[in-house]
């Protein structure tokens, strides 16, 4: 194992927040990958068994249709993580490439790319998504993630451009230019490593943003309705329990909120550690 990797893990281990975040994320990934293999979710309605309290048979009780809440969370985690990770990846690639090219190239390229970026920042997403919903049929999580990313890359592109404007005049970049190295090489081999901590944090934030936004797209009809998606579970819980008006449904209502909260908290903790591990200036 290289020295860098060892140092990375040591930093992560020393940072208690980051370590706990990493453990929680690992648990969620384990849940998403292996959970559905270990237990079967039966979504058949059992109305008499609705809103049951937690028990050995139903760890987090049951929902408004008598279905197991915990198993819904387990099955939903695959959906949630898939959408979150793909959307974050697309956001990152789009945001970095557009921001970096814009900042590095400057001139007309910068003007055009920033015009497009500003357009995406200012055009309200709702009416555009309505049109997209009428035109596009989402058939897989990748396409779903791409549409989510289409409205989240712009702030990142602007931020990357700003970072790049400061980096490109540093001595080591000027040296690269004098040496005649090509732009893609400079961007990906010299600049990208300097932006890694920033991008890593954005990756995590984009993932959690996409999970929340995915519910909105489902409710627009852009994507098929997934009742085990955590965000959708919250929506269904509020709709069927009236939020706070059905005390029997509190556990069902709180469970996906807790799960989503825990996931977001883990992401934030983990990204905090990532920054420390990847940004040499923060290491003591």
């Amino acid at each position: 194992m290289s020295q860098g990797v060892i140092e990375f893990w040591q930093t992560m281990y020393r940072n208690k927040k980051a370590f706990s975040g990493m453990i929680i994320l690992a648990l969620f990934i384990f849940m998403a990958v292996f959970g559905p293999m270990l237990a079967t979710l039966d979504m058949t309605v059992n109305f008499e068994g609705r809103y049951e309290s937690p028990s050995f048979a139903h760890w987090l009780g049951t929902d408004y249709g008598g279905r197991d809440t915990f198993l819904q969370l387990v099955y939903g985690s695959r959906d949630v993580l898939q959408i979150g990770l793909f959307a974050a990846m697309f956001t990152l690639v789009l945001g970095f490439v557009i921001g970096a090219v814009s900042g590095f190239a400057g001139g007309k390229t910068d003007t055009v790319l920033m015009f497009i970026t500003n357009l995406f920042l200012t055009v309200p997403s709702f009416p555009v998504l309505m049109i997209v919903a009428a035109l596009v049929q989402i058939k897989n999580p990748i396409m779903f993630s791409f549409i989510l990313a289409a409205w989240s890359w712009a702030p990142l592109a602007r931020a990357v451009r700003s970072q790049l404007l400061s980096l490109k005049n540093r001595e080591f970049i000027i040296a690269c230019r004098i040496m005649g190295l090509k732009t893609p090489y400079i961007l990906f081999r010299e600049i990208l490593p300097n932006l890694t901590p920033y991008l890593a944090i954005n990756f995590i934030m984009a993932a959690q943003g996409a999970i929340v936004a995915s519910v909105g797209l489902m409710m627009l009809g852009l994507a098929p309705y997934s009742p085990t998606n955590w965000g959708m579970m919250i929506q269904l819980a509020v709709q069927n329990t009236g939020g706070i008006f059905n005390p029997k449904g509190y556990i069902y209502l709180v469970s996906p909120i807790m799960c989503l909260g825990l996931f977001q908290m883990a992401c934030i903790f983990f990204s905090n550690g990532l920054e420390e591990a990847l940004n040499p200036r923060l290491r003591t």
Partner: protein, 657 residues
């Protein structure tokens, strides 16, 4: 200094101990006996009749608080036909018609009509004499005439030849020959609010429309429709549309009707209506103001009900929420009633394999309607035997003879039957549990539903799960309602959710069949239309239904002709046979599934409002959660409390308390 601060501390301690005690004591003192307490104590005077102002305890300002929606200012305008209208439910407080009807029960009452009489080809209506528009002008027969000359797309005009106004207070409707049967004539008139187009405000547009109608020639082709039996050419139609569009943009800024309440003011969240002091039935109006709140979020609506901030609320939430609200606010009284509408799914017969009746029937056999109803609307009523008949299921026994009902295919859940039908059309079940079509492909179907319709979305999700579990992978798309209906009408989904077996207007079997064969269900199912060639040889869709199917007697019927024939059939038995045949055809062809007939409710805040509550002897035993009435008189009384099933307003039904 220290002493002073110690004194201060002691006094503040005393005060903090005293304050909660005072609050508790004052709270106890002001707590009023709840509805059950009052009924147990026999304290029911204010439930028999309105009480004098001096005795009003909880609603001294005499305000009736409800929910509603309207175009937000500055878009708000006073023309009910203008863009967005004047608000969905608000029309009924400010406008009136000659008659009004109870949507679920077909009772028709006089309103602006004092009386009416039918002759063979005429209906003469005598108007109330002391009716004034909100701007003080008298309401006369000219206004009724103006309503139909301008709004000549109103359905009843297809059955009329002319409208005469022999004097200011008499209107004579002349029917085409043959005329619709007498009961239908009144229902056709009762579905309009004739007091919506004051002639003195819209003279310019009414006279223009009248002049255009006078240019039209009488219809010679009996199979065609036209207002007042006139043949409206394309050119005339364009001019009329232009005139209508100008009318809808002509204002006024605030509504002018004849109803019991006048518009006072509107904001984004609130609308205030003021009692019409010139109202022609002054004794019928007991509230001074109506305060309408615009609260779209369901949870916020429940919060208002719970807090007693609404006096009347329409709808029935999921069972556990309903139980919880009744438990938390002991002044609430909730009446349930059947809705003349069912939640259902329609197959898109434009898409394969839904064009195959056996496939549709197989899908229908898969569904367990009890589970769909439990999740969609617990208090609804499922009818497992039928697919979709075009008739409100609760009146199927009344409308269709038992001999016909017995010949209808029974679609009660039957997975073996579903498998057998699929096998018959070449489908095979794979080792993974999924069915494959004759080409070996596993299907993947989409059910579309409007996202803001909880009963539809919830039950459709269960249906998708039932299909998937059976081996036909199906997903639900809950689509934003602003685009859903256009998408569904264009056939974008394999299956679409909407109200089915419903009558939006008066309730008779033909009315709900119109929705099936001519309106919303038709477009979602995708029934074919008659096509014809235009002058250039291009194929043109006429919009006229092209559906010829075998009836119960084995003969082939043109459905469009049968539907058009119905209003003119004078013999009741013949009408019953016609309807029974169409219901049988609909059930056998299985174009959709009636999941369950909806149940809705009226919530009454008995602390601030009172009324002559029906089934009063059952309020205590049922602890204010009233069951669906079985006695027709009680059913009617409950629909009165629910504003004629949310289609009218009966100010005399409630009073402040």
């Amino acid at each position: 200094m220290n002493l002073l601060s110690r004194h201060k501390r002691i006094s503040s301690l005393c005060l903090s101990a005293l304050l909660p005690a005072l609050m508790i004591v004052s709270g106890c003192g002001s707590s009023a006996p709840d509805l059950v307490d009052r009924l147990n104590a026999g304290n029911v005077q204010d439930m028999r009749q309105p009480i004098p102002d001096a005795q009003i305890m909880y609603n001294k300002d005499k305000i009736f608080r409800i929910l509603g929606g309207w175009p937000k200012p500055p878009l708000y305008q006073g023309n009910p036909f203008g863009s967005g209208g004047i608000g969905d439910n608000n029309t009924r407080y400010m406008y009136e018609g000659l008659f009004y009807f109870i949507r679920s029960m077909n009772n028709v009452y006089n309103r602006l009509a004092e009386s009416s009489e039918d002759n063979e080809l005429t209906t003469t209506v005598h108007l109330q004499r002391n009716v004034k528009w909100h701007d003080g002008e008298p309401f006369t027969s000219k206004d009724v005439w103006a309503y139909y000359r301008l709004n000549n797309g109103a359905e009843v005009t297809k059955y009329l030849t002319s409208i005469d106004t022999p004097d200011d207070y008499t209107v004579v409707f002349h029917w085409r020959n043959p005329a619709p049967y007498p009961e239908l004539r009144k229902l056709l008139l009762a579905q309009d609010l004739q007091g919506e187009i004051p002639y003195h405000l819209y003279k310019k547009y009414v006279d223009k429309a009248d002049a255009l109608l006078k240019e039209a020639k009488p219809l010679t082709d009996k199979s065609k429709d036209g207002p007042f039996n006139l043949d409206i050419t394309d050119d005339l139609s364009k001019q009329m549309a232009l005139n209508w569009n100008e009318f809808t943009r002509s204002g006024p800024a605030t509504p002018v009707g004849t109803g019991p309440y006048k518009f006072e003011k509107v904001t984004t969240t609130d609308m205030l209506l003021d009692k019409n002091e010139d109202y022609w039935r002054p004794d019928a109006v007991h509230f001074d103001k109506i305060w309408i709140k615009n609260v779209p979020e369901l949870s916020a609506q429940y919060a208002l009900v719970k807090a007693g901030k609404l006096d009347w609320y329409d709808g029935t939430p999921p069972k556990d929420i309903l139980d919880s609200l009744l438990k938390q606010n002991k002044d609430i009284l909730h009446y349930r009633m059947y809705d003349p509408a069912s939640v259902g799914l329609m197959y898109n017969i434009r898409n394969k394999p839904f064009d195959n009746v056996k496939f549709r029937q197989a899908m229908t056999y898969v569904l367990d309607k009890t589970k769909l109803r439990e999740i969609g609307n617990y208090y609804g009523q499922e009818y497992p035997k039928i697919s979709m008949t075009g008739i409100m299921p609760s009146s199927l026994d009344k409308e269709v003879d038992a001999s016909v009902l017995n010949q209808m295919t029974d679609y009660t859940t039957n997975l073996e039957k579903a498998a057998q039908l699929l096998n018959e059309i070449g489908w095979k079940k794979g080792s993974d549990g999924n069915w494959r079509d004759p080409n070996g492909k596993v299907p993947s179907f989409i059910i579309g539903a409007p996202n803001n319709w909880a009963p539809g979305v919830n039950s459709a999700q269960i249906a998708a799960e039932q299909f998937t579990k059976f081996g036909i992978p199906t997903k639900l798309k809950a689509v934003d309602s602003t685009i859903y209906f256009a998408n569904a009408d264009k056939g974008q989904y394999d299956m679409s959710m909407d109200w089915v077996d419903i009558s939006w207007g008066f309730q008779n079997a033909w009315s709900s069949m119109r929705v099936l064969f001519w309106q919303g269900t038709k477009t979602k199912v995708g029934f074919p239309n008659v096509k014809k060639k235009d002058a250039n040889g291009n194929e043109v869709d006429t919009g006229k239904l092209d559906l010829k199917l075998k009836g119960i007697d084995g003969k082939v019927y043109d459905i469009d002709q049968e539907m058009k024939r119905y209003p003119y059939v004078q013999d009741e038995q013949e009408r019953r046979e016609l309807i029974a045949n169409l219901a049988w055809i609909a059930n056998e062809n299985c174009w959709g599934v009636n999941f369950f007939q909806n149940a809705t409710g009226a919530w009454l805040n008995t602390k601030t409002m009172s009324g002559d509550f029906p089934m009063m002897d059952q309020i205590v035993p049922y602890n204010r959660d009233m069951p669906i009435a079985t006695d027709p008189e009680e059913q009617l009384a409950i629909t009165h409390l629910n504003h004629g099933f949310n289609s009218s307003y009966m100010p005399e039904e409630y009073w402040p308390r």
